[in-house]
Symmetry: C2
């Protein structure tokens, strides 16, 4: 059993209040949250927080982890050109071992920034799962079927990955409307109904995507997906930048997750998602980094800051984009969007997916409002420790992921070389 004591705890159980409760972890789960106890058992390890903050880990609700191979490779071009001319040709060369090596590199970046789980939509899902399991990291795979793909693969993945390992799960999805056709949409509808699972896809990331969908189908991607019954068991969309009132009505009524990716949307000049409007309509929100090839980092502090300040800019109102709501989105909303309700807060029985944040760092001082400090001033630099499923995977700059960071870097470098050489 591991004991965290002598610090502050943000449980996100009911609100954003911070207590001085200590937290015990037994195996994969949290076993106790409360004041120090005289009848405490013997601990395997006691971690003195020295006043620092324990909080639920950040969950990255939209990722293409292995795309770190293309970080800073093809920047400064708009999304469609970037994707079709630069990225797709390199991705055609991807082998499972590449995805394994690159996902392991991305997991290091996640851990060093307090991210404890990722919702990963990418090729060679078995390799992604293996990278997560070997690292001790939590990944929810997202289906990414496109026109021409065999629906049997989706069926098989959904059954297989949801039974594979406690760190792995799977939600059905298609890549996007613009890479789909009516056949795969219809088959995907069969799949979600057969498994009674939520459905996810890239949705309204660019104005062009929505315009072209209208040309093809006479409606937006959201309306199209709804027409096919894809949201009958819930789900959501990645990006959700160019939403119409009708799209929002569907997301609000069905309580679908709008997963915002502010850094990627800004960097590709795709636009600013209407988070204020989502909030007023009661649409549940989550937050993700997208891939390192468009972002270019996998950094939840940056995403949180951008979600806040871009909302303020979009609405011309400094009061929009509340820090507490955004922190809750990153730690809890994203968890729930990914089906990780058992890792969404700190309470007995919840998964021990935890982060320790250094509150003595100069950028966290003074402590008028710790949550605002975290969202408005926090940085990866402040992450002291990251625990996933009860195991410490990152502490004081060191990784504990079953293999050295140098070896992971070397292997990812080799994969990158092969993919990007022309």
């Amino acid at each position: 059993m591991i004991r965290f004591y002598n610090g502050r705890t943000l449980t996100l159980q009911e609100d954003e209040r911070i207590s001085t409760d200590e937290v015990w972890v037994e195996g994969e789960c949290i076993s106790y949250v409360g004041p120090a106890r005289a009848d405490a058992p013997a601990f395997e390890r006691e971690i003195d927080l020295r006043g620092d903050l324990l909080l639920p880990g950040f969950k990255n609700a939209h990722a293409h982890s292995a795309m770190c191979f293309a970080r800073s490779f093809a920047d400064d071009v708009p999304l469609q050109e970037w994707l079709f001319d630069k990225i797709f040709p390199m991705e055609a060369r991807l082998q499972p071992e590449d995805v394994y090596a690159l996902t392991r590199l991305a997991i290091l970046e996640y851990l060093s920034g307090g991210i404890t789980a990722a919702f990963d939509m990418y090729f060679h899902r078995a390799a992604i799962a293996r990278a997560a399991i070997d690292s001790g990291f939590r990944i929810v795979l997202c289906g990414a079927l496109s026109a021409g793909d065999d629906i049997a693969v989706g069926m098989d993945d959904c059954a297989r990955f949801n039974a594979l390992h406690p760190l792995i799960s799977y939600f059905p999805g298609i890549h996007a409307e613009y890479t789909s056709d009516t056949k795969i949409l219809g088959e995907m509808s069969e799949l979600t109904h057969a498994f009674q699972k939520p459905f996810f896809a890239h949705n309204a990331e660019t104005a062009r995507e929505v315009a072209e969908c209208r040309e093809r189908h006479g409606c937006t991607p959201t309306v199209l997906f709804e027409r096919y019954g894809l949201f009958d068991y819930g789900g959501g969309g990645f990006h959700c930048v160019h939403f119409t009132p009708e799209d929002m009505e569907i997301f609000a009524r069905r309580q679908l997750w709008a997963v915002t990716c502010p850094a990627s949307n800004a960097k590709l000049a795709s636009g600013i998602a209407p988070l204020g409007e989502f909030r007023r309509r009661g649409i549940p929100m989550a937050i993700g980094t997208d891939g390192a090839s468009s972002n270019n980092a996998l950094n939840m502090f940056r995403e949180m800051y951008l979600a806040a300040v871009l909302s303020k800019l979009r609405e011309g109102d400094a009061a929009e984009g509340d820090a507490a709501q955004i922190l809750t989105m990153a730690c809890q909303g994203s968890a729930r969007a990914m089906g990780l309700g058992d890792a969404d807060s700190i309470a007995p029985g919840k998964r021990a997916d935890l982060v320790v944040l250094d509150l003595s760092a100069p950028n966290m001082q003074p402590e008028h409002n710790i949550v605002k400090n975290l969202v408005y001033a926090g940085s990866n630099q402040n992450i002291r420790l990251t625990m996933v499923n009860g195991r410490i995977l990152y502490e004081d700059g060191e990784f504990f992921v079953g293999e050295s960071a140098a070896e992971i870097r070397r292997r990812a470098g080799e994969a990158t070389k092969r993919l990007t050489q022309t």
Copy 2:
């Protein structure tokens, strides 16, 4: 003499090319940049860069360092309300010892993020200078006269601080048009002409500021300052968000520095500065954090990222906001704006204001383009070492500023308590 070797060097001497040159520092200055030499002298210390990157430090071209006392204290309100209702009443209580204690805290934050100098506009300038000297940090003081202030103070400051210490210098300035009157503007004109010095002020930070200036004077702040001859020896403006074509014409013709503060402008919903337009017109640009009370961090990686992506969003063009230009702005443009041309690059004779950046960190891999990695994916986490004027002030998470970080934190905490208690 200190030797940096076995890494990469970005000198910013002519362009953004990166070499494997090593760098020697003798006393306060760089003494050699080039390949390893057989006739090398005995070194006091040899720093193995292990492949990491040596580059000129970031210069923060707009700061109110001591305002960290109000970090996360009065967020989520627009600028004018935030300033007049929340900040000004607290500032009225500031004593020199408070400013000293708080500036020392801000300097820790600067150093941990690779910032080697700040252009600091705040009260109790002697205390700011003392905090900088005691820490070994470089500060350029900016005058901040307002209506009712005695111009003799500005005259005295300009003479005194420019002769005080190699780490300290001073440029004349007023706080802003909206806190000035015709008397102080006229007197400031006398001052800049007497000393032949550039002139700085907050300028066009909000639309309201410009509108109210038009009501009072029938012109924008830039036109008003120009009318008073304040720019006859150069200078620039802080923020420059709501610039008219005429303002830009004046800034371009006189080569005045537009100092952008993207995080603060976004967080207060003031707007996005037209950096693309400035670039096309050849207006020189620098970058600053503003105070921690509005930003809320003093983090140049965040400012660089925002300068890039907000430009892309503003122009709806992913190609706008070039990474190399923005890095040059942070390391070199800001230095030149602050009169620190002797600390703007890595070359023999230049001041040794240097940073070592960890290129092996997961967010800096792979290395398709190191400059883009730095601007689009970099974080304070990547700063291994910060050197100011030949002295290492920060290395591997530890500060060497003549006093412990804990003591600096404690003293800043006491000052904060006094200022914010009502």
